[in-house]
Amino acid sequence: MTDPHSQRILILDFGSQTTQLIARRVREAGVYCELYSWDTPVEEIRKFAPRGIILSGGPESVTAEETPRAPREIFDMKIPILGICYGQQAMAAQLGGVVEAGDKREFGYARVRMHGHSKLFHDLRDEKEDSGAEWLHVWMSHGDRVTRLPAGFKVIAETPTAPFAGIAYEARGSSGIQFHPEVTHTTQGRAILQRFVHDICGCGSLWTPGHIIESMVQSVRAQVGQD
């Protein structure tokens, strides 16, 4: 039997109100995932052996000192990483980019213009203009923004207040997005997360009720034995 846990995603939690929603969306995509705190020792992350890591949003500011960061080593693990909101900013800052407090904050609905046919957004759009410009309708909640890209990253989406609303280092499969794909207000959010876990991380849809039951039954039997 295929173990439905075998192809899995790790979500590093920076404390966002919507982190559990990320996990729900990944599970709905048929992929097993677990939520770990951002300060989890890297050995535990290696042991978990995820095919990809998602960095959640969070209430703190990357521009302040002593705010949470991901364990540095995950960026050398050669697996795709998706940073969301604070997660994007932390990733950008840790890889040599710059994050600043914007004078304009963005909360709620926003239109994001996509650039250059990224893997993450390929074929996804909510709006297309005659000029060829393509837009996503998303939900934002941020004050800070990335203002200088880390080496190797390019822009894949922008808004007037967040010129780097989406960034990617495609050769590594890593992306960062300023908006929240896990909330239903981001129309294509579910598709974006599916794109990440299936196409970019290469996880199949193994997490299905049938497989889950089979695996739970086996694990209960293994635990209990003849007791």
Partner: protein, 284 residues
């Protein structure tokens, strides 16, 4: 759900203990036995402990004390029954993934507003028994999908949450059998009408609350002085915040009418229109 899953995994090695504390909803005990024992062939021991719970609750009005008494007797009864089973080594519990996440967060300083989840308190240590938590990786909606896959009845899978102390916290103040019987009948009518009007699954949680106050009514030509029941219905995603449900007036009218006509001892029905926060979903 846990029972169904364990039954599939270990069959005859599973014994379920079902404690009837006298604070269950109408016919609930029979339904549990019907589903598990008859349809699924699970070995279930039903313990009728109504008198024990009710006599311990006599004269106790403080909600926290009531909860402690109910929880304590549950553990005692469970322990007594488990001791009768030869070599019981495992205790299964319905912990789900959000409980695991919350407990993990509670262990570190990052916890903000978190409560600990322990369905059976300190029972495992006390009984020298190991804990089995087959649902601990799952979110609630996944548990429901698995329930469907296991072929459990739809109504059971989509049932609203019911508190551990049961009607004990839905009867305000002192708990008496008389009150519990009245509340059971009113609550059953309420839920029946919600099902009939296709509202039950649109609402996150609905129940009746027994208020131990009397108000005047004129029934026929006689003056009656009977009890009051409050109806509560909320809509919520996560049970942390909730809005009161906008049940159509006509439906509320039907429910109120039926309760007053059919439940002798209740002569007034009121609808709770408080949001959470500040009003919690349960009244106690």
């Amino acid at each position: 759900m846990v029972a169904a899953l364990l039954h599939r995994a270990i069959g005859k090695q599973l014994t379920c203990i079902f404690v009837d504390n006298g604070l269950l909803r109408l016919n609930e005990g029979d339904q549990v036995m019907e589903t598990f024992a008859r349809h699924m062939g699970v070995k279930v021991i039903r313990v009728d402990a109504q008198d024990r719970f009710l006599s311990a609750l006599k004269g106790v009005a403080d909600p926290e004390k009531k909860r402690k008494i109910i929880g304590g007797i549950f553990i005692d009864v469970f322990e007594e029954e488990a001791a009768k089973i030869k070599n019981a080594r495992w205790l299964a519990q319905g912990t789900i993934y959000p409980d695991v996440i919350e407990s993990a967060a509670a262990k570190t300083k990052k916890a903000h507003v978190i409560k600990s989840h322990h369905n059976v308190g300190g029972l495992p240590e006390k009984m020298n028994i190991k804990l089995l938590e087959p649902l601990r990786e799952l979110f609630k909606d996944e548990v429901r999908r698995i329930g469907e896959e296991l072929g459990l009845p739809h109504q059971m899978i989509y049932r609203h949450p019911f508190p551990g102390p049961g009607l004990g916290v839905r009867i305000l103040g002192e708990v008496k059998k008389e009150y519990a019987d009245l509340l059971r009948k009113a609550d059953a009518i309420y839920l029946e009408e919600l099902y009939r009007h296709n509202l039950y699954e649109k609402i996150s949680q609905a129940f009746a609350v027994f208020l131990p106050v009397k108000s005047v009514a004129v029934l026929g030509d006689a003056r009656a002085y009977d009890y009051v029941v409050a109806l509560r219905a909320v809509e919520t995603v996560d049970f942390m915040t909730a809005n009161w449900a906008h049940i159509p007036y006509e439906v509320l009218g039907i429910i109120s009418n039926r309760i007053i006509n059919e439940v002798r001892g209740i002569s007034r029905v009121v609808y709770d229109i408080s949001g959470k926060p500040p009003a919690t979903i349960e009244w106690e």
